[in-house]
């Protein structure tokens, strides 16, 4: 990650009214980086600084070795190769959908598109915009508007896509409609994205990397799963703590409708519609869905009973604790979270370093390529 040529280096410092921003982070210049924190922690300000919409003296920003600002340099917003999706779609009311989409598109001779560039037809297809082209932004629904705004940003051929809570102004259903579009973007385009959100479910579905912010400062940054399973950070301690993995499909059992997924240090069985082997799918395992046992259960409806090692245990409140587990019989695989009661912990005489069996009651599987419907599968409770 210290490799400048392939990373995003940001350092923004300054006073904004009564708010002090002091945020510095380095993340890879690939994939989606989630910028997460409570409302008012300064994450949107960081994004505006990256875009050049806000200027804080003494700040630096570079991406893949290309410096956009430092002590002596400040590239204005229109000189930075970015795409920006605001919370409200902010479409140009005086232009049609097509006019909006093409506003920032560089002019190039017809038929000649560089292999690097994002094509008009590709964006239309990716975001389902074909039926909207000749409409006026005034006659679009909130979700449609936001999709046009995303398409407009993509067609300006950015080298970095900045998204400022693009779904937070939408209702739950519309949000679920748009998330698969974003997942497809992630899959199809090799465009680095910085995605600001205060909604952990969006981050869990989209982000590869995470920058955690609080009160104008960065408190941690790193791969999503690593930060999710760090008991010293607020994510693991939260009510809906969970970890996400990008798993590889091993095989599909069409008799029972079960897919076998390979993770680092374990295999998971998950009910799902048919999928091809080799596909990458994101799974989510909530801490509340994992229970612990000293021995492999002999007779149980639970499909996934995985050997793990207890890495750490941190009390959450008077009655519960969160346990970090490492998958694999050697105990050196991916990290998993379990929320257990302190009473169970004491009765089973559990301790750090011990080998235990993690029983996973439910695994949520994100929809894959071509599937636009959310198909979260959950096993019946044991």
């Amino acid at each position: 990650m210290r490799d400048l040529a392939n990373s995003i280096n940001a350092q923004f410092r300054g006073q904004l009214g009564r708010f002090r921003l002091d945020a510095a982070f380095t993340v890879p210049a690939t994939g989606i980086t989630g910028l997460f924190g409570p409302s008012g922690c300064g994450k949107s300000t960081v994004l505006r600084c990256i875009a050049g919409l806000q200027q804080l003296p003494g700040s630096r920003f570079s991406i893949a070795g290309d410096t956009w600002q430092d002590e002596s340099l400040f590239r204005k917003a229109h000189q930075r190769p970015i795409g920006y999706v605001f919370q409200e779609a902010s479409l140009f009311q005086h232009l049609s959908v097509k006019g909006n989409l093409l506003y920032g598109a560089p002019r190039q001779p017809a038929g000649q598109s560089a292999s690097q560039s994002i094509g008009f037809d590709e964006v239309l297809e990716l975001l389902g915009l074909v039926p909207l082209l000749d409409r006026s932004p005034r006659h679009l629904s909130g979700g449609e508007r936001q999709r046009v705004a995303i398409g407009r940003a993509l067609l300006s051929q950015p080298k970095l896509l900045l998204m400022d809570e693009p779904l937070s102004a939408l209702d739950r259903l519309t949000k679920d409609d748009i998330l698969p579009f974003l997942e497809r973007l992630h899959e199809r385009l090799s465009l680095p994205v910085i995605y600001v959100s205060h909604d952990i479910t969006e981050i869990e579905r989209l982000a590869d990397h995470l920058v955690l912010m609080r009160a104008g400062a960065v408190i941690a940054s790193g791969p999503l799963t690593k930060l999710q399973s760090d008991p010293t950070l607020p994510l693991a301690a939260s009510r809906d703590a969970a970890v996400n993995f990008d798993a590889i499909v091993q095989r599909y059992d069409s008799d029972y409708g079960l897919v076998t997924l390979q993770l680092e240090g374990a295999e998971l069985l998950v009910p799902a519609p048919p999928v091809a082997a080799g596909e990458r799918r994101r799974v989510r395992i909530a801490a509340g869905d994992v229970s612990l046992a000293r021995q492999q259960p002999q007779q149980s409806t639970i499909l996934n009973a995985l050997p793990t090692r207890i890495v750490s245990a941190t009390p959450l409140n008077a009655s519960e604790m969160v346990v970090v587990l490492a998958l694999g019989s050697g105990g050196d695989g991916a990290r998993l979270l379990a929320r257990v009661t302190r009473r169970s912990w004491d009765q089973l005489q559990l301790a750090t370093g011990q080998q235990v069996i993690a029983q996973v009651k439910g695994v949520a599987l994100a929809p894959g390529r071509g599937q636009t419907v959310r198909s979260v599968s959950r096993l019946p409770p044991a």
């Binding site: 902010s90 920032g104 005034r138």
Partner: protein
């Protein structure tokens, strides 16, 4: 229209020329002022706004008096006229245009500024993130979005120039074909008891004013629909 004096249409033509010229100049000069008033964060900009708005409250004779001094042989207007061998800008068509520009300025600048204000920062920020230079953003985003403001500014500026009287009398006098505009002509006809001629011009002005107000109201309705 038999029996009408042949020169009754001269003031009409002169007035339309004056108003058209004034409106055109005001759109060119007033737009950057309106843009600056809408976008600048300078603490003294409201002072500038007040100066622009001054003709709204100043008695036209007061404004006309100072304009007369400025345009006269001893003022900058006289020096300007000297460039083409003239002695003064007072009592000339050019002087009248300058006076009208000053007098009608607030009626053009205010609606355009309000329209720019209503756009807000966001569309311009969006344009910047789409690689539009500030100039491109101005022409392709700000101006089209502020179009209703430009329309009402142009209509109001034109109408007010047509109707001005006090300033014209102070700095233009009453020279047929040069400074004798409609309002002065009506006054003139009344002074010489030519009521029929005065009535024709006055009725024409009333009809014109009605059309202007109607246009404005329809424009506003349309704007409200676009925004809503």
């Amino acid at each position: 229209m038999a029996g009408l004096p042949p020169d009754i249409w001269q003031p009409v033509r002169l007035t339309v020329e004056l108003a058209a010229m004034t409106t055109l100049i005001l759109l060119i000069v007033g737009t950057p002022i309106a843009w600056w008033l809408a976008r600048s964060k300078a603490w003294w900009k409201e002072g500038v706004a007040a100066v622009v708005a001054l003709p709204l409250v100043l008695p036209p004779t007061v404004l006309g008096f100072y304009l007369l001094v400025l345009l006269g042989p001893d003022g900058p207007g006289g020096a300007l006229a000297g460039l083409w061998g003239g002695r003064t800008l007072a009592f000339t068509f050019e002087g009248l245009v300058i006076g009208s520009v000053v007098y009608s300025m607030p009626f053009v600048v205010q609606p355009i500024r309000n329209a720019f204000d209503a756009i807000g920062d966001r569309p311009l920020e969006v344009a910047a993130t789409l690689r539009a230079s500030p100039l491109k953003a101005f022409w392709t985003v700000a101006v089209p979005l502020a179009r209703p403001g430009f329309l009402s500014g142009a209509v109001l500026g034109f109408a007010h120039t047509v109707g001005e009287f006090g300033i014209v009398l102070m700095i233009g006098g009453n020279i047929p074909g040069t400074t004798k505009v409609l309002s002065v002509a009506i006054y003139d006809y009344v002074e010489t008891s030519q009521w029929r001629e005065a009535n024709i011009l006055a009725a024409g002005m009333a009809a014109f004013a009605f059309v202007v107000i109607l246009t404005m109201m329809m424009l506003e309705k349309r704007t409200a629909r676009i925004k809503g």
